[in-house]
C-alpha cells in the first residue's frame, strides 16, 4: 500500500465521510486535510487540530463562523474549505 494513502475502514466510508481542507489565515501553519463523519462538531475538529476554544472555524468568509458546539457535518459538502482563525470580538 502507498505510504501516502490513509486506510479508512469501509464501514466508516459507508457512513458518508466528508473531506474538508482547513486553512490558517496567518499562513504560519500548512493547510490540513481532515475527514469528518456525521455528528462532528466544531469542538471535535478543533480538538483534533490541537486548537482550543480560543479559535473559531468559518467557511470561506468571516460571516459564516460556526458555533463551538455546532454540528459541522450537515453544513459542509465534501471538499469544502474551512478557515481556522483565533477568536476576535469587539466590545465596549
Amino acid at each position: 500500500m502507498n505510504d501516502n494513502q490513509t486506510y479508512i475502514q469501509p464501514e466508516i466510508l459507508e457512513q458518508g465521510v466528508k473531506r474538508v481542507l482547513i486553512k490558517f489565515p496567518g499562513g504560519m501553519r500548512q493547510p490540513q486535510q481532515a475527514l469528518i463523519g456525521p455528528g462532528t462538531t466544531t469542538q471535535d475538529l478543533l480538538n483534533h487540530l490541537g486548537l482550543s476554544r480560543d479559535y473559531a472555524l468559518s467557511a470561506g468568509t468571516g460571516e459564516t463562523t460556526f458555533g463551538f458546539s455546532e454540528i459541522l457535518y450537515p453544513m459542509l459538502s465534501d471538499g469544502d474549505l474551512l478557515y481556522a482563525s483565533s477568536r476576535v470580538d469587539a466590545g465596549r
Binding site: 489565515p25 493547510p31 481532515a34 469528518i36 455528528g39 482550543s52 468571516g62 476576535v88
Partner: protein
C-alpha cells in the same frame, strides 16, 4: 402454578412500565445527567500532511497570509492596508501594544454599521479615523484574524440593511 406466577409477574411489569410516562423519564434523566447516554464520538481524522496527498498535477492550496493577500504593509509600528469586502474597501490600521491591539478604520460605512450589534464599539477619533475597541484579542497575536473579523462586521452590516 409456576406459569401462573410468571404471567402475574409479566402483567405487573407491563403495568409498571406503562405508567412510567416519557415525561417522567425525561425528568429522571434531567435530575441525574449521568444516566443520559453519552454522545457517540464522531469520526474525525486529520491527515498527516496535506502536501503528501496531492500529485504535482494538482494545484496546491494557497498558504499566503491574509494580510499579504490584502496588500497590508508594516509601517510606523503598525500595519496599514484596506479591509476588503464585496461591498467596498476601507482603509485600516492595526497597532499592537503588548497583548492588546488597537484597530482603526478610516471613513467607515456608518449608515450601515449603526444597525450592527457591534456599532457601540466604534469610537470616532480625529477626523475620519474611527477606533474599534476589541473585547477579545486574538490569543495567538495574529492580526490576520483581526482583518477577517473587521471585514465580517462590515459585510454583516451591509447584509442587515
Amino acid at each position: 402454578m409456576l406459569s401462573l406466577l410468571f404471567i402475574i409477574f409479566a402483567i405487573g411489569a407491563i403495568i409498571y412500565f406503562a405508567r412510567m410516562s416519557p415525561r417522567s423519564l425525561d425528568e429522571l434523566l434531567e435530575r441525574n445527567r449521568s444516566l443520559a447516554p453519552a454522545r457517540p464520538r464522531p469520526f474525525v481524522k486529520i491527515l498527516p500532511d496535506f502536501s503528501n496527498h496531492i500529485s504535482d498535477d494538482v494545484v496546491k492550496a494557497d498558504n499566503t497570509a491574509v494580510f499579504l493577500q490584502r496588500g497590508w504593509i508594516r509601517k510606523d509600528a503598525g500595519c496599514h492596508g484596506y479591509y476588503r469586502t464585496k461591498y467596498g474597501s476601507w482603509q485600516g490600521e492595526i497597532r499592537r501594544r503588548g497583548d492588546k491591539f488597537y484597530v482603526f478604520i478610516y471613513d467607515p460605512p456608518t449608515e450601515q454599521l449603526r444597525h450592527h450589534s457591534r456599532w457601540p464599539c466604534f469610537h470616532q477619533e480625529a477626523g475620519k479615523r474611527w477606533r474599534i475597541h476589541l473585547a477579545v484579542n486574538p490569543v495567538d497575536q495574529d492580526i490576520n484574524s483581526i482583518i477577517l473579523y473587521v471585514e465580517s462586521v462590515i459585510r454583516d452590516s451591509f447584509r442587515k440593511v
